[in-house]
């Protein structure tokens, strides 16, 4: 009898300690409410984990935006605060984070997340609590079918595919292509999209091969592709796969054009591929080459300013992800000018956004379109001796 009582005690003690500790920590972490209540916008971003390269620039943009808005007097006299949580690229943590932001911090809207999986995990909660969620992820399923409460800022995978198909038909003038894609969500999504849309544009897919995200040698797949009548190779994946593929192609002496995805729209790809990466073409947002945006437009002005301010604040050039983050913040704060912090009104106001010049493009939403951008906001970029040039 004595023995069992002794055994339950430490258990209860441990449980009690843990819970009290957690409660205390959360209690102390709660922000003090001031009389001049700031407008709070929540953000769930992937600051660590596999999607950190996407989330970290997004966070920097939001912090920059917050500073700028508050320096100019805030929105309708109120300061703006972005409360940023890290979902660690984990869907379970993303849903915990959005729950906390909505119920504990009482935010008016939520930005998030950086990747498709984490965004989809947040959606049911946003929907249930009736809070607008503006995401920075490109997965098609997020807005198909259109979810009343979810919006997005980056161009979708289907827009990128459309751009690629345009390029294949008009510039390369090819009719037979091969696809080599990463087995991860991004690669499969793009490959599926391409497989579905290509025949409609008169492009035949002669073969479709895949590789694992951690594979280090793709020569097997490439030799099979070499044996087909493919006139161009579309590679859909994230670093380092495509870089390894450029090197493998050099090794095997494969000369057909390499058309990549926006997954390689970064300097990292150029570093990894080295000289093998020259001549590679991929779709990307116009901010990569600001001169591709008409010189006298609002959009161009925003992009030039953004690049200048980001560089000054962080001593690094912003990439497209930084742009997506900025745009998400911009769209919400712009809608707040009319709707303030009323969640339902804010959602309607976001949906009414028309011709708002951001970084990724000029945004227009509607009840049937929560994507905001279209294929014309993208350009084809070529890697030329370590630099980017626009392909007209």
């Amino acid at each position: 009898m004595l023995k069992t009582r002794m055994r339950a005690k430490p258990v209860v003690v441990v449980l009690a300690l843990l819970l009290v500790l957690s409660l205390a920590v959360y209690g102390c972490g709660k922000k003090k409410i001031t009389s001049e209540e700031p407008y709070k916008i929540g953000a769930v971003l992937s600051l660590s984990g596999p999607n950190a390269p996407l989330g970290q620039p997004e966070e920097r943009s939001l912090k920059l935006l917050q500073k700028q808005i508050n320096a100019e007097g805030g929105i309708n006299g109120h300061r703006v605060t972005f409360i940023i949580e890290d979902d660690m690229s984990d869907p379970a943590k993303a849903s915990t984070a959005i729950a906390k932001l909505i119920t504990q911090d009482n935010v008016a809207a939520v930005i998030g997340s950086s990747g498709t999986g984490t965004t989809l995990a947040m959606a049911p909660i946003a929907e249930r609590e009736k809070v607008a969620q503006v995401c920075c992820a490109a997965g098609t399923k997020i807005t198909q079918p259109v979810n009343k409460w979810i919006f997005r800022t980056p161009p979708t995978d289907s827009m990128a595919i459309e751009k690629v198909l345009q390029y294949l038909k008009s510039n390369l003038k090819v009719s037979k292509i091969a696809i080599l894609h990463d087995a991860n969500a991004f690669g499969v999504g793009g490959a599926d999209e391409l497989t579905a849309k290509a025949p409609g544009k008169g492009v035949e897919i002669v073969t479709r091969e895949s590789y694992g995200s951690t594979d280090v040698d793709m020569t097997t797949q490439l030799t099979k592709i070499k044996d087909t009548p493919a006139q161009a190779l579309v590679v859909w994946g994230t670093n380092p796969g495509p870089a390894i593929i450029t090197k493998n192609m050099q090794q095997l002496g494969i000369k057909i054009p390499f058309v990549g995805s926006h997954g390689i729209a970064n300097k990292k790809f150029i570093e990894l591929a080295g000289p093998a990466g020259n001549g590679v073409v991929f779709p990307a947002g116009r901010m990569l080459i600001p001169s591709s945006i008409p010189a006298d437009s609002e959009w161009r002005k925003s992009v030039d300013e953004f690049i200048k301010d980001y560089k000054a604040a962080y001593n690094a050039d912003p990439d497209t992800f930084a742009g997506h983050g900025w745009d998400a913040g911009l769209i919400i704060t712009d809608a707040m000018k009319t709707a303030n912090t009323d969640r339902v009104q804010l959602r309607s106001q976001i949906e009414k956004t028309k011709d708002l010049a951001g970084i990724g493009g000029v945004f227009t939403y509607s009840p049937t379109n929560h994507d905001g951008l279209d294929v014309n906001d993208l350009i084809m970029v070529k890697v030329d001796n370590g630099a980017w040039t626009e392909v007209k």
Binding site: E209, T219, D227, G274
Partner: protein, 328 residues
Amino acid sequence: MNLNLKENTTERNRVLWGTVAFVALLIALTVSIKGSTGLQWILSGLTVGSIYSLVAIGFSIIYASTRVINFAQGEFSMLGGLLLYSLCTKAGLPVPVGFLLAVIIVTLIGAGFERTAIHHLRGQSVITMIIVTIGFSIFLRAIALWSWGSNPLPIASFSGDKSVRFLGASLVPQNLWVFGFTAVMVILVFLFFNRTLVGKGMRAAAANPDAASMVGVSTSMSSLIAWALAAAIGAAAGIIIAPITMPSYGIGTMLGLKGFTAAVLGGLGNAPGAVVGGLVLGVLEKVAGGALPQGYSGYTDALAFLILILVLLLRPQGLLGKPEGIKV
């Protein structure tokens, strides 16, 4: 305990030659059906297979000496590659110097872990050992993420990238480095365990710890050397393959899993087995990847694990290992 040693060796020889014959047949078939494309698959298989072998050798050395499965073996290779980046690509040291330094650092890390954790926990349950090495791998991965970030790192090939052709297939110089290094490693490991006193002592300690300590072989020293060796070989391997793999903090996971499949396939605790296992696994993966129709190429990842389960169920001692006694 099976005392019928002669039968054992004959059986093992049979398996070894059987495997060689199988692989030769596979190669012959592939090349005859698919010509130079098939040869390319084989070469690619030998390249990744060598990578697996190098990691597998590390697993086997540790398992042989301490009966511990080191879940952090892949991380030794990861650290080797990342350290080389910092020392050579960033700080500009010449490659041989960077190589040496990186290997020394990782060896110290491995030895340090052995002294603090493994030595302290000797004799503890399997679960404890599993969790402690898993903890070590998580720790190393997290430190790497913190120090080097999440992006893959570019490391220049040692002898350039001009492809080398033969018989219709091609290789790059770095592949030759990998092959060469694997061959050298195999020879060195063989010499160490069969011709040096230290190596033979370690084998004795592994086979029968009590008898070995009675003749003056220290099991504790044996364990330390095993871990230091595995860390050194792992790091060196990581460096040699770095230009090919473009390493990042997460690469240890894949290397570890594949390496360990290779080690089990060849026979856990058996160094030549590790090499055979690695090469067979690599070639099987690439030939299957080549032969499989389009829609199924995603399943080749599963091939390694399927092989693992089959080996464990049908022949747990692997191709070249000795059947282990039942622990009472």
